[in-house]
């Protein structure tokens, strides 16, 4: 495996793969490192209906597979490995992986985000035992059972609609008294007789021994505490950016998002960022793709300036 690259892209989701296509077409030796599966978190969703250019709903895994193949077509190397460090030393970037390292003239950091957890009792213990972060993967386990989706955004409602095909009842538990999701999703949820909304509820804990049995909730308006009996709880309360690896080399805001200029360059020369590590992305494939393209163009300008 080649050690020295023009560009290393950290993350093989929509932002990383879109950047890779452009870097490859600029004839730069480009390596993409992905710690989980190429395509990113979106491959777990069942459909995408709002990616421009497709009149009919598309399967996210197929879209992302096409993006991977498009990057490969232009000579990009896709490698499954977890990055453990990103440093600038001896006039180049060094990227550490398990038992190995690579160097590059520039980095595009598109490591995405990780599911946000409530960090309450029972959550980690019951993860995989009823507490889940992927309705598409796990819905068949909950056929004719009662489940809850926790959250009020696009992901929460899309998951509730998917779960309603399997479960007997789907509760959408939200901490506010209105939803943030796309209106078209809200409309479908309100019309689905299997889906019930519980407003103004705060999650206190997840209960159950070997498997999830209920969620302890507090009504924020009345302060009443109740236990919602359910077999499945699907977390959809947003994400936290995966910026731990660059926290000492780029500026981060209080929530850990990378701060960039309009070109997506950071304060570290030769380090660009894209996708959900940047605040305000709103978790849309189309936005991440656009950011990946922008970062790759800025990266190309940077490399050209060195020559």
């Amino acid at each position: 495996m080649e050690k020295n690259w023009d560009i290393i892209i950290v993350g093989g989701g929509p932002a990383g793969l879109a950047a890779a296509i452009y870097c490859g077409r600029s004839l730069r030796k480009t390596l993409v490192l992905e710690k989980q599966v190429f395509g990113g978190q979106i491959v777990s969703a069942d459909i995408i209906e709002n990616y421009p250019g497709f009149a009919e709903p598309i399967v996210p895994a197929e879209l992302m597979d096409q993006m991977s193949k498009q990057a490969l077509r232009y000579g990009v190397v896709l490698e499954n490995d977890e990055v453990s460090g990103v440093h600038y030393e001896n006039n180049s970037w060094r990227v550490d992986v398990y038992n190995n390292f690579y160097t590059a003239k520039a980095i595009i950091f598109a490591a995405g985000s990780t599911h946000r957890f409530f960090n309450v009792n029972g959550e980690k213990e019951l993860l995989g035992r009823g507490v889940s972060v992927c309705a598409t993967c796990d819905a068949p386990f909950f056929r004719d059972r009662q489940v809850a989706v926790l959250g009020g955004g696009d992901t929460a409602l899309a998951e509730a609609l998917h779960l309603a095909k399997f479960a007997s009842t789907v509760y959408v538990v939200h901490r506010r008294d209105q939803l943030r999701a796309e209106k078209i999703l809200q409309d479908r949820v309100f019309k689905n007789s299997k889906i019930k909304l519980l407003w103004d509820r705060e999650v206190l804990s997840f209960t159950g021994a070997q498997r999830l049995e209920g969620i302890e909730l507090r009504n924020k308006k009345t302060a009443a505490v109740e236990v919602l009996a359910c077999d499945g709880a699907f977390l959809a309360i947003g994400t936290v950016p995966n910026t731990e690896l660059i926290k000492n080399i780029v500026e981060l805001d209080d929530a850990g998002y990378a701060i960039t200029d309009i070109s997506l360059a950071t304060r570290s020369k030769g380090l660009f960022v894209a996708g959900e590590v940047i605040k305000g992305n709103r978790r849309q494939v189309s936005i991440s793709v656009g950011m990946g393209v922008q970062a790759s163009l800025a990266c190309e300008d940077y490399l050209a300036s060195l020559e």
């Binding site: 995989g128 035992r129 009823g130 993967c137 386990f141």
Partner: protein, 106 residues
């Protein structure tokens, strides 16, 4: 070269007392991350034919095996040695993470 073996509710017990470490891949056709992990598992089955047996269990067709191990999320990988579950990995993981876990279990 060892390959991944499909196990089911009827024959699962016959694998439990194997001297090899067993990796059980719980999957379903609707689970895309499961499909994307399969090449990595095939590589592991091929690379460690002497010490490791990789089984796959379709949770839709084999509810008894899934519920016996309290599997409620996909992908789930169970690592079994001498008939006992040593550890599990939940969610999509890369081949390196599987190998690392395997080395800790063996």
């Amino acid at each position: 070269m060892a390959e991944i073996v499909s196990a089911n509710d009827g024959n699962f017990d016959s694998f439990m007392n194997s001297v090899k470490t067993i990796i059980v891949d719980f999957w379903a056709p609707t689970c895309t991350p499961c499909k994307l992990m399969e090449p990595g598992l095939e590589k592991i089955a091929a690379n460690y034919p002497e010490n490791v047996k990789v089984l796959k269990v379709n949770v839709n067709e084999n509810p008894l095996t899934s519920s016996r191990f309290f599997v409620r999320t996909l992908p789930t990988l169970l690592f079994i040695k001498n008939g006992l579950v040593k550890t599990q990995l939940i969610g999509a993981v890369n081949p390196g993470q599987i190998e690392k876990t395997l080395s800790e279990v063996q």
